[in-house]
Amino acid sequence: MSTDSYKTIMDQKADIMRASVGIDYEKYTTGPLSFDYEAMLNDTGYDLDAIRDIQSRSAVGDTPLVELKNLTELVRTVSDPGKGARLFVKDEAANPSGSFKDRRASLSAFEAKKKGYPGIAAATSGNYGAAVASQAAKAGLGCIIVQEAFDSQGIAQPEIAEKTRACEAYGAEVARLSVGPELFYYFLIVLEETGYFNASLYTPYSILGIETLGYELAVQVNEREGRFPDLVIATHAGGGNVTGTARGLIKAGAADTLMVAASVDLSGLHMASDRDFNRKSFTTGHTGFSVPFSTWPDRTDVPRNAARSLRYMDRFVTVTQGEVFYMTEALAAIEGMERGPAGNTSLAAAFAIARELDREQIIVVQETEYTGAGKHPLGQLNLAKQMGIDVRRGDPRENRPGKAIVIPEHPSQITPVEMDLDRLRRSYLRKALDSLPEGETVTETDIAFLAAEIKTGETYVREAIESHERTKR
């Protein structure tokens, strides 16, 4: 492979993407910074009913909502009197490939089939690969999954190794790469060579597919309890889970339900580092994705990311690796549900947030995921020990990503850390304003767009623009 071919392929990125997604993103541009987000989603032609119908035909969705009565009782042992909200979980592990990612993949597979693509491809190391492979199998489409899978020593991340196996079980080709962002380059080669549909995690199809999750859980809670949940919490990485779920809640009429995002704190570990790769113990749902994707969603493989989490987040918390492993054990031990662990990130956060809320209030943890060899606390912690990470019981505040995984000694120690949403919003605005093309000025349309992007008023945006201009001068 020559250097020239790297540049040649990267130069063709826009054309390859347009052909492989079939969306003309340009036409949604409304200003130097703004674009018509809702039109981009609406133009797919799929409304909520159509999507529910498509998903039901491939056994996706309609997953059980489980009340976690024992975990709620455990919350109340560490809560003030009158506190300790009811915890529910949407058992998304019941989807065909074992996670909510089937919802994201289903519409892409349907669209690819409808438009006559010979197959679908995705660049993903996680559950999404298995979901795409599973949906492709059902639709009779070819499938290629490109994974970042092993470090320069050839050591595979156990969770990703399990995904390799699952994808191969569904009959997909799995191209496994060593660590580095140039995975995208290889993905472009694959798309160009095969003419496959790009089942990107960030197209409108992917996000619309998740709306059914938020919608279903709102309807399920309402049917059972006569009202909507007070708070829904989603594990947050690229932003799709938060975006799609929140949109579905709104479509169900649960507009007052608070949307909380939760990520595993992996601060200090570099996402493109060969050394750090196998010291993460979590391959998704962590701050290495959620922070950059919240503050600049368009950093992805499509020109306009349909996952725009700051539009929907009311609160964003982080938990430690040790806390998630602890909650994974708890879920199995007292609820009889062996799930996760990465999908239990939001559960760990929900456990602590339930302590702040009144007993009558309802929290829904909106996903579980299947578990198995490699994709399990044992596989992850055995690797962590092998990599020299200190695994011990203690105060989770002593957890240090890549150095120490501290498993709580008591449920009262689980304490999420608040992410400063204001800081994230300002970071988003800074990046947006820095991207303003030379000679262009911010329009009124842009200001309205930016306010919607970060869920603030226009005054907030105007003040940020003024401050940005002052700094430039």
Partner: protein, 103 residues
């Protein structure tokens, strides 16, 4: 040298980008190593481990590389129980038992 016959399920590897061809702005440790790829498929001809080989993948692509594995094993596993996790189930059940006995 281990040899695989045509039509065997194998893994091949290839360097996709040499060190000096990699993207700018990589962390120093990643800069020091090439970008490698491994993929599995059915061997199109007899070949030895370490030799050039061509495969057809499950999606029907023909890919060329170095033969790295013959019917390669899935090696990910649960491994030993983790002593730091083993007591948790008992601890949590005891907390609930205590609460239920008290009420």
């Amino acid at each position: 040298m281990e040899r695989a016959v045509k039509n065997t399920w194998v893994e091949i590897g290839a360097v996709i980008l040499e060190k000096d061809q990699r993207a700018p702005n990589l962390p120093d440790d990643t800069k020091q190593v090439p970008l490698e790829m491994r993929v599995k498929g059915f061997l199109l001809h007899d070949a030895e481990i370490g030799a050039e080989a061509e495969i057809i993948t499950p999606s029907g692509r023909t890919v060329r590389g170095t033969l790295t594995g013959i019917n390669p094993e899935y090696t990910h596993m649960f491994g030993r129980p983790i002593p730091e996790l083993s007591p948790i189930a008992g601890e949590i059940r005891a907390i609930l038992r205590e609460r239920r006995n008290a009420s």
